[in-house]
């Protein structure tokens, strides 16, 4: 366990290093010049000399490795720099945005699990065609219709026609409902199918037949063995979902004007706000790596025979 932890931490550190360098370099190789945005050349006159002056002031004329080293030194002091757009500390901006993303992504995920766990296990347990048809329809709809489209339809009904919920904004729990429900329907579809298939696979295994032959209660077999045994792949997908949600739910955040991290990044990329983009990539990568590590440890606890993906 200890060795696994050290190995995983080492891998995570290497991954973080590669990601910081990758993000730093790729942001700088992106087309677009933050200096032109800063000088607002679309509206204000700027001569080539003035543009060059600003470039030098920001250190963009230095070699890439020098800029990278300077940035790493700042990061090591937990200084993520200041946003070009607002002048506010990057860390504080990201913190606010992650909180907003967490509100809709967390609620959406919770609702998805509340929908998927009963439906997935129900359809795995029951072989009734009506049950199978119902769960298939729910998961197909969720998978086929994009979440923002579901969001627009729900908005039309619940905000425009019934006027029960707000169209947009972040004003308390009622403004979380529409984006979270839209997200949950898309997420639930994956888990319904995943749970059903994995539970059924588990139920078909020899040890389950032996357990039945030994007279163990069906309820115990289902919950203690089949469901538990089916969880590692579900957890793996769950971690991937968490990772992608940590990056923000861009379209929903834009449609519902919810100030999450995805919406923030769209703005940052358009404005070429390098400190903000780099800070985002670094923090999001850190979150994903940590989640991945936790998932592996949790899987290890659930299935001690399952070693880093190998049985």
């Amino acid at each position: 366990m200890g060795r696994l932890l050290i190995r995983q931490a080492g891998e995570a550190f290497l991954f973080l290093f590669l990601m910081t360098f990758g993000s730093f370099a790729s942001v700088r190789l992106l087309p677009g010049d933050p200096v032109l945005t800063l000088l607002n050349v679309d509206e204000l006159s700027a001569t080539p000399e003035q543009i060059q002056d600003v470039r030098e002031n920001l250190g963009f004329d230095k070699p890439l490795y020098t800029q990278y080293t300077d940035w790493l030194i700042s990061i090591s002091r937990l200084d993520f720099g200041e946003s070009f757009m607002t002048g506010r500390p990057v860390f504080s901006m990201l913190q606010d945005s992650y909180q907003a993303t967490f509100e809709i992504a967390g609620t959406g995920l919770l609702l998805a699990l509340l929908l998927a766990l009963p439906l997935g296990t129900w359809s795995a347990y029951s072989n009734h065609p009506a049950v199978r048809f119902f769960t298939d329809i729910v998961s197909l709809l969720g998978a086929a219709v994009p979440s923002f489209w579901i969001g627009l339809i729900l908005t039309d009904w619940f905000a425009v026609r019934l006027v029960w919920l707000p169209v947009m904004g972040r004003d308390g729990i009622e403004s979380v409902i529409l984006p979270a429900v839209s997200l949950s329907l898309a997420l639930a579809s994956v888990y319904i199918q995943l749970l059903r298939i994995n539970i059924q696979k588990e139920l078909a295994k020899d040890y389950i037949q032996i357990a039945r032959a030994r007279g163990i209660a069906e309820k115990t077999i289902f919950w203690k063995y089949a469901v538990r045994g089916s969880l590692p792949p579900v957890l793996a997908v769950f971690t991937l979902t968490l990772g992608s949600l940590a990056g923000g739910v861009v379209i929903l955040e834009v449609v519902f004007s919810y100030p999450g991290v995805g919406k923030l990044m769209v703005e940052a990329v358009l404005q070429r706000d390098y400190p903000l983009i780099q800070g985002y990539i670094l923090l999001t990568t850190g979150i994903i790596v940590t989640l991945n590590l936790l998932m592996r440890l949790l899987t290890q606890c659930l299935r001690p025979d399952w070693k880093g993906g190998r049985l």
Binding site: L44, S45, S83, R88, L152, V163, W164, P166, G169, R170
Partner: protein
């Protein structure tokens, strides 16, 4: 054997409870409140710092004001926080401030406060620093003396820029609660979502008729439109163009107003076929501007005859274009139609046209032009680029580019003409280096008298048209939809600077 009956019962209970909760949490129907208005804008901002915010929300929301403002009818610079101004020497401007104005925290707006605010604006915003070209600011009683680095006739008009708004620099949390001089104060700000405004009772002008305003942000046109239909919003900026007919049918008012923006065809006059004036005129003659307005912009634009909208005092009355066709211009340039292709010395006329998707109309315009050119034997190859300014300034492997910019955002022609046609201009992507034109521009840059300046700018605009360095296509319009049964006093300004004003009210 366990059953799912329990689950089902629980699920039904949860849904029932959810429905009860939902019915109890109807959104605040603020638009039905008297003296309250909700406005939805199409850009968001993460900071209300008036000196940094490129969405200009503090000015648009009526929180801040500038020294001078743009009059929407005459399109001239008018006094605002400054009462008057004069040019003392070639490089020194004297501005007299209005008296009796206070900031929203009760502090007096005096010359020292204005100086401090402008100094902060220059320190915080490199664009403002470049645009104002201020060498020093001195306080002289109620006046301010500005010395500029060079002779700078545009100085006063540059003070229209919302990023030069006057604020109390000693106030804290400027990025969340700037203290300006406008009719509304910020009572709450949620970055990227909304600004809540309250009437400033001590406003130096006529106090606002509205008591509170919610200034919301949403980049999605569909969502903005739905917010109007649901009653959550009273006014929405740029609703979904496809929904305009439906909105009209439902009784909403739609304002269509031309803006200072021009969509143009920038021509590379330093390399390739576009060096030839007849070829440039041929391309210009090829453009069916009416078709672009009707089909690409769905009618929400006006045909452009030059860079400036016709209501500007320096916009020339252009002579009617001749009936000469693109083909006749090309023949004049030595091209002949052979095997369905325009050729000169055996070389087919093939042009590279740059376009970019940041403005969705432009790639469509490029396609229309490509089709029209094909009909007369010109091959146009469309190349998609990401950042036009960067590409055009560093590459010369193109002939034409669809481009869009603001031509006189602060009411003076100098910015556009210099940026686009002066050899040192930041937007001179065509590579124009015309001695006579440069001389005219230099003269414009020394001319302070507004009437003489306008006459000179008009002459330059006319000469530029004759030399056909660019083709001007259309001026896109701004659409605003509002509930006319409730909203009174709304005016869509061409400048798009002043939105929430003291004149706005609800019935």
């Amino acid at each position: 054997m366990f059953t799912y009956k329990k689950y089902l019962r629980q699920t039904v209970r949860t849904i029932a409870l959810g429905a009860v909760l939902l019915s109890g949490c109807s959104p605040e129907t603020e638009s039905t409140e008297s003296d309250h208005l909700t406005f939805v804008y199409n850009f968001s901002t993460l900071s209300l710092d008036p000196h940094r915010d490129s969405s200009y929300v503090p000015l648009r929301a009526g929180v801040t004001e500038t020294l001078v403002r743009l009059d929407d009818e005459k399109l001239t610079v008018e006094p605002w926080l400054a009462k008057s101004w004069k040019n003392e020497t070639e490089t020194v401007w004297r501005l007299e401030l209005q008296q009796g104005i206070t900031f929203q925290n009760g502090k007096t707006v005096d010359a020292d406060a204005v100086k401090s605010s402008l100094e902060r604006s220059i320190a915080e915003n490199m664009g403002v620093k470049n645009a104002l070209k201020i060498k020093s600011i001195k306080v002289d009683g109620n006046d301010l003396l500005f010395e500029t680095n060079t002779v700078y006739p545009e100085f006063i008009s540059e003070l229209v820029n919302p990023n030069t708004a006057i604020i109390d620099t000693t106030a804290k949390k400027i990025e969340a609660r700037p203290i300006g001089t406008g009719p509304f104060t910020v009572s709450a700000f949620s970055p990227g979502t909304k600004v809540e405004l309250t009437r400033f009772e001590g406003y130096w002008g006529r106090p606002a008729k509205l008591e509170t305003v919610n200034f919301l942000f949403n980049e999605d046109a569909g969502a903005r439109t739905m917010s109007l239909q649901s009653g959550q919003a009273d006014i929405v900026y740029r609703p979904e163009a496809e929904s305009v007919d439906r909105l009209k049918k439902n009784g909403f008012a739609i304002d269509v107003t031309e803006t200072f923006r021009v969509h143009q065809l920038t021509m590379n006059v330093t390399d390739g076929p576009m060096q030839s004036l007849p070829v440039r005129k041929a391309i210009d003659a090829l453009i069916d501007r009416k078709q672009l307005v009707d089909h690409v912009l769905q009618g929400y634009a006006t045909v452009a005859t030059g860079p400036f909208i016709s209501s500007f005092p320096f916009a020339p009355d252009y002579e009617q274009r001749t009936d000469q066709t693109a083909i006749s211009y090309l023949k004049q340039a030595g091209y002949i139609l052979q095997d369905g292709q325009m050729q000169k010395d055996g070389q087919p006329l093939t042009l590279t046209l740059l376009t970019y998707s940041a403005r969705p109309d432009l790639p469509l315009i490029a396609q229309v032009l490509q089709d029209d050119a094909k009909k007369i034997g010109i091959t146009i190859k469309i190349r998609q680029i990401d950042v036009p300014e960067e590409y055009m300034s560093s590459h010369r492997d193109w002939d034409l580019a669809t481009y869009s910019n603001l031509t006189a955002p602060r009411g003076d022609a100098g910015y556009y003409l210099n940026a686009t046609y002066h050899p040192q201009g930041g937007l001179n992507f065509s590579g124009v280096n015309d001695g006579a034109l440069t001389k005219q521009l230099d003269q414009l840059n020394r001319t302070v008298n507004p009437a003489k300046r306008n006459a000179l700018a008009e002459q330059i605009a006319r000469d530029v048209d004759q030399k056909q360095f660019n083709s001007f296509l259309l001026h896109p319009a701004t659409l605003v939809a509002y509930d006319q049964s409730r909203v009174e006093g709304w005016k869509t300004e061409k400048s798009e600077y002043y939105m929430i004003t003291n004149m706005l009210e609800v019935k």
